[in-house]
Symmetry: C2
């Protein structure tokens, strides 16, 4: 029997995050002020973020130290194990070697605390008393709730209403860690009330919820806002995943031919791949695939353009792949992938051809999740099942081609709080949503009048 | 920063289980045939268990090899980590050192797969096609479902109806792994129908559900029954927990003064303590505490006597602490601790004064669980919170006494599928149930006519 899991010692947990901004062949274009259309000054963000995070957002330093208190709290679950999926390989009868990084071992059950912990810490030392945020399926909201408890901060979460209603366990998790969680759109904010006036039965969206959280954060002196994906500092914090994985793959004696991650705003995907993108820039041959849902095809059918991060147009303009800030994705179960935009860093890698993107229909993701649960045991989050599905596709392709490929994917979280989604699948209630070009073209009209990035293509 | 978690290498996973029957100062009295009242023959159990498990049930061998296929599958999550609870210690401001063994890392989220995997394996090699079982809160049923999928066995679970209705996520887990789950009492069995005739709205109990599963198992040629606690072979398989912990505590450089586990049928408690009980028999000073709910005080207020394991009196008579097989515990959230009996091994240790028992009220267990979640991050199963609560009591006692005690407890599982219980607590819906002596004395009347063990005391 070969090794099933590779653990690192606590002393091998990385002491620094990796900032890819220092190594990009083509730099990420700057965020723009939503009012003036001019590149953002650090001070423009002061109302919503503490200064250390703003500095990280704009930093060009290659390596950034992980503060000691964050390092210590990381040890609650990090380094996370790297697994070899022997049972899945055997089931697929593939010559491929499949590895997965298990980010489900954190108390919140996903990779999200990697950045939530850092953000809570930097807020704490900057005098923040309360953090407002939004959450889709609830992984980010629960992660931030857990991490705010670690540093004695208050936390309030606006949760996309359809998920708030469908997934009460996520709210209960947040409340158990002492946070407050309400469904969005809510009547607590001007932007929420405006949305409710337009559609009292709105299922909500991440874009709407962001508007509510930002609105609250700027109103209170000692309150800030936190975002769980998309932004550069979030990608930075998540690189702890890939840095650990590189050490573990070295112990395993393999180097990945293919790296796979699901991608909603891009954070778990970036976390795993960025240290490997560095290798690729330096000459390594690696295929890197970001996987998104057919019904929210930001990378595969969206445009690279400047766009708002939220519906109410409160955020800076970000250079990113987008379906337009008014795009409301179908109510698929992978709530964490229901976002109109994509991390500027991931978007830049995509247009620089350093990574590729694929979209997968919902039913295939659940079929793959069931296969994974029956072989490797663990029940994946619906988001994670997109990575599982692509891994299975690639492993079967390797079988067809008779190649012993090494496939590595990010098992970004477990699905124990998302079992209602499996229940729908098991009962045959799920269908694959067909997204028409018209809908996409229509949504993209709303960004036509916005400034264009230099790398914009019609 | 000292080490937060101690992992073992996969090569350090124990190769043998420890059988305490070889070392008990006073042996466990034999199970009796329910019809004849005579000591059971191995053949009497053949209708419900495969022969390798019957042999283990009656074995006096000190060390029993873990079969290679079970060892390999254990590696899906074992060795499990031992944690030092620095944050909880700091919060309590105690001089005590608190360690916990994290059994929540298994795919099913608890210690139950330690025996489910072994039982599925022995059934597989004995020609079993389908396993019937019962489950209370659902931890055992989901563990067996997961493990049956590993060895290609069918699995059907009778789930105590109140939990079946309150905890749909557990059923969904089982179905995701390919098992079938129905609420008990059901109309599928004669014993279920009899119970429904008596009370159509019966919330069910473990005793009832066992009757249904056993009835089905004996009716089909290639079907067997499996039990997730109480029996000797279950305790045996769980010793992998304590054997690992001993190696980890040695690495930590500490030896426990106090060991704590929650105890329903006794399996997670036994799993941690039995290897330490061996130390105690050999002269070590250790305080060992089994913790049960106030509302189901099998050890603290029950009697040591022969009793049936189930309501319909289908099982052998076991020498154990019991509240009587007709005792129906209050509907507390720690469903896994709602059982009228106790493992004969644990019961024997109790009357031999090798361990002690304490009962704790429900609200204190949830308060402790919240404290644990806010400090150590992880949300515990309601059962596990009994161990957490006793640990906090002991840590505060050590503080009062100014003693640097080393406390070790079994964190037997996470509570992410039990969040509705936390929701009830957070909303102030829980109360502490006061169990009168009359109710207990009444329930105990039903065992007066049964044979008495030699160690019986009036």
């Amino acid at each position: 029997m070969d090794t099933k899991k590779i653990f690192l010692n606590e002393s091998e947990l990385p002491r620094q995050w990796y900032n890819i901004m220092a190594d990009l062949p083509t730099p990420v274009e700057p965020p723009l002020h939503p009012g003036t259309g001019q590149p953002l000054n650090p001070n423009d963000l002061e109302a919503i973020f503490p200064m250390p995070l703003i500095e990280q957002e704009m930093s060009q330093e290659r390596w950034i130290d992980i503060p000691e208190p964050v390092f210590e709290k990381y040890l609650m679950w990090r380094p996370s194990p790297l697994y070899r999926a022997y049972s899945l390989e055997k089931h697929l009868d593939t010559p491929a070697k499949i590895y997965f990084k298990n980010e489900g071992v954190s108390p919140a059950g996903s990779h999200k605390p990697n950045t939530a912990l850092a953000q809570a810490y930097y807020n704490k030392i900057s005098g923040t008393k309360k953090i407002y945020t939004e959450t889709g399926a609830g992984q980010w909201g629960s992660a931030l709730s857990f991490c705010c408890a670690q540093f004695g901060l208050e936390c309030k979460v606006y949760m996309v209403k359809i998920s708030f209603n469908q997934k009460p366990y996520r709210r209960m998790m947040m409340e158990t860690w002492g946070a407050e969680c309400v469904g969005s759109p809510s009547s607590e904010t001007a932007s929420g009330r405006a949305m409710l006036a337009k559609d009292p039965d709105s299922p909500g969206s991440l874009g709407m919820a962001i508007s509510e959280a930002v609105e609250r954060a700027v109103q209170e002196e000692t309150s800030k806002y936190a975002l769980g994906s998309v932004l550069n500092h979030v990608m930075l914090h998540q690189t702890v995943i890939g840095l650990e994985t590189q050490k573990q793959m070295e112990i395993a004696g393999d180097y990945p031919d293919i790296i796979i991650g699901c991608s909603g705003g891009g954070s778990n995907f970036a976390g795993l791949i960025l240290p490997y993108v560095k290798d690729k820039i330096e000459g390594k041959e690696i295929e890197i695939i970001g996987v998104e849902p057919n019904s929210c095809p930001t990378m595969t059918r969206g445009k690279f353009a400047y766009d708002f991060g939220d519906l109410a147009q409160l955020t800076p303009l970000l250079p990113m792949h987008t379906l337009g800030h008014n795009f409301v994705p179908a109510a698929i179960h992978a709530g964490g992938l229901r976002y109109h935009g994509m991390s500027p860093i991931i978007s830049q890698l995509l247009i620089s051809n350093l990574i590729q993107s694929k979209a997968i229909p919902q039913i295939e993701t659940f079929e793959s999740g069931i296969t994974f649960a029956k072989t490797e045991g663990f029940i994946s989050a619906p988001e994670t099942n997109h990575a599982v599905a692509m891994t299975i596709r690639e492993a079967l392709k390797a079988k067809e081609e008779g190649k012993e490929k090494v496939i590595l994917f990010n098992w970004s979280g477990h699905g124990l709080v998302d079992l209602a989604a499996y229940d729908d699948f098991n009962k045959g209630k799920l269908s694959d949503y067909k997204l028409s070009d018209d809908i996409i073209q229509n949504a993209l009209k709303d960004i036509e009048s916005l400034p264009k990035p230099k790398q914009f293509k019609e």
